[in-house]
Symmetry: C2
Amino acid sequence: MAGEAGKARTVLLATEKAFAAGAVGKIESVVKEANYTLKKLENYKSKDDLLAAVADVDAMIIRSDIVDQAVLDKADKLKIVVRAGAGYDNIDLKACEAKSITAMNTPGQNANAVAELVFGMMIVSARNNFDGTSGFELVNREIAFYGFGAVARAVHKLAVGFGMKSFAYDPYIPADKIKEMGAEPVSSVAGLFDHQYVSLHVPLTDETKASINKELLMKMPKGGSLINTARTEVVHEADMIEVLKTRTDFCYLCDVAPKDIEPYKAAVGDKYGKRLIFTKKKMGAQTAEANDNAGVAAANQIVGFFEKGETRFSLKA
Amino acid sequence: MAGEAGKARTVLLATEKAFAAGAVGKIESVVKEANYTLKKLENYKSKDDLLAAVADVDAMIIRSDIVDQAVLDKADKLKIVVRAGAGYDNIDLKACEAKSITAMNTPGQNANAVAELVFGMMIVSARNNFDGTSGFELVNREIAFYGFGAVARAVHKLAVGFGMKSFAYDPYIPADKIKEMGAEPVSSVAGLFDHQYVSLHVPLTDETKASINKELLMKMPKGGSLINTARTEVVHEADMIEVLKTRTDFCYLCDVAPKDIEPYKAAVGDKYGKRLIFTKKKMGAQTAEANDNAGVAAANQIVGFFEKGETRFSLKA
């Protein structure tokens, strides 16, 4: 059980696609320090291997590995499964709940990975996709954050290094706290769109869905650029395509491409790569460092769960 | 004459391709402050316009405008011509010298423009040209500068913001001075190549020509990447192509493409954009800000020349 400290535990590292050796070493240290045993099932080829391995373990660290009813049925001692990473579609949360197994993810470990990608996209756009024509510099430009969580703050940190000015609005963070973290607080979502760059860092909710619309985008100053590393659906699709068509200075830099990117591309013509960037797949979090960090965080969360009853990153079914 | 302070002067701004309005305003302020007159010849279409305009001016600010014997023949009062920018192939220096006209350029005004481009290239490479596969982060990585002048120091400044570690070797800057500027001094050129990134910031001289060779490049650690925003010819071409072929982890990020890039591209196959980046034309210095800065610097240099006899950026024929 959570909170029963000092007991011997076995942690299964079940990774169909293994972590880098360095990360495994770090995970091993965390587990060892708690006097637990690490059992490794890396690069396994068949689900049967996984079903056999879970039988006697207290905890599991997974990546995109599937933890469904079949796995849980075999996992008689399992108390906690942690997805090393942010997305957790691969865990059957209801089945976990039914067996009183805690499921967690490891949010925030990819903040710098996303932030560096944001700067990559901004520079490529500002320098016209390296086409040899004269662009502009980021120094002294303004960036405004919608949401000021871990990722936004990591982007802000790099923006400071570039000599940019940061602004932020977050419905859950008071203005004085935002100021303390080095950004200028903005009192409304609309106020963010007075700045050249707006970077989205909000979850998809009823309130945010399709909330970034024509009215906001048309308000942006010359060279206005929307950066979306959050969720596609936060942006009103038809409005975005219309704005890309009508405002030839406007740019959309996006790590969360919609299913059909062709209408967007058609709107900017030969300016794809400058006015419009879609990375292939959502890749902001995909770095060796982010993956390693997530693995170590997962191990730490398991130890915290057993030794101190910590459940901060528990997922709800 | 230089150093004859307090006299009325006329400065011609002769720009076949005009500066942005904001930059012209700043140039105008500098000139006005010195009680000089600014005469503008912007976006002119014929050389005759230029020949007519130079007749009565004491100084000239140009961009890529041609200042040859024909222009100088008409410029009876001209004492100084300043190229707003770094390259000065467009000025006939011998003809200037023969008429005792001082010619200058405005070096260093593009340092941040180049530095931001360097980071753009590094991130695109580290993130696999945004192809959706897992890359790596720049945080905690090491960058070593060959030459630690204005551009290298601007790259270093951004590197600090990214949480990178900087190293530098410059034959003309003592180790303690390098340390003072925040980089770790390295005692030899070869020592630079122990770090993942090496960025070249040296002029082309007999000593530097083709000096970056196979021996140095093969020495680089895993993921070794050479950044060249200096001069193509500093790198040994045949060696570079060989290293690109043999070391599949090695990257070459280059703003000064050689004439024939095909053998380089052939060496990396489908990894162009990740292992090899060539911007189109040398574009590091090409930003609105760098151009504006250069114009203002040119105006300041003209005032300094007449009022204080400053000749720091004089060009030799």
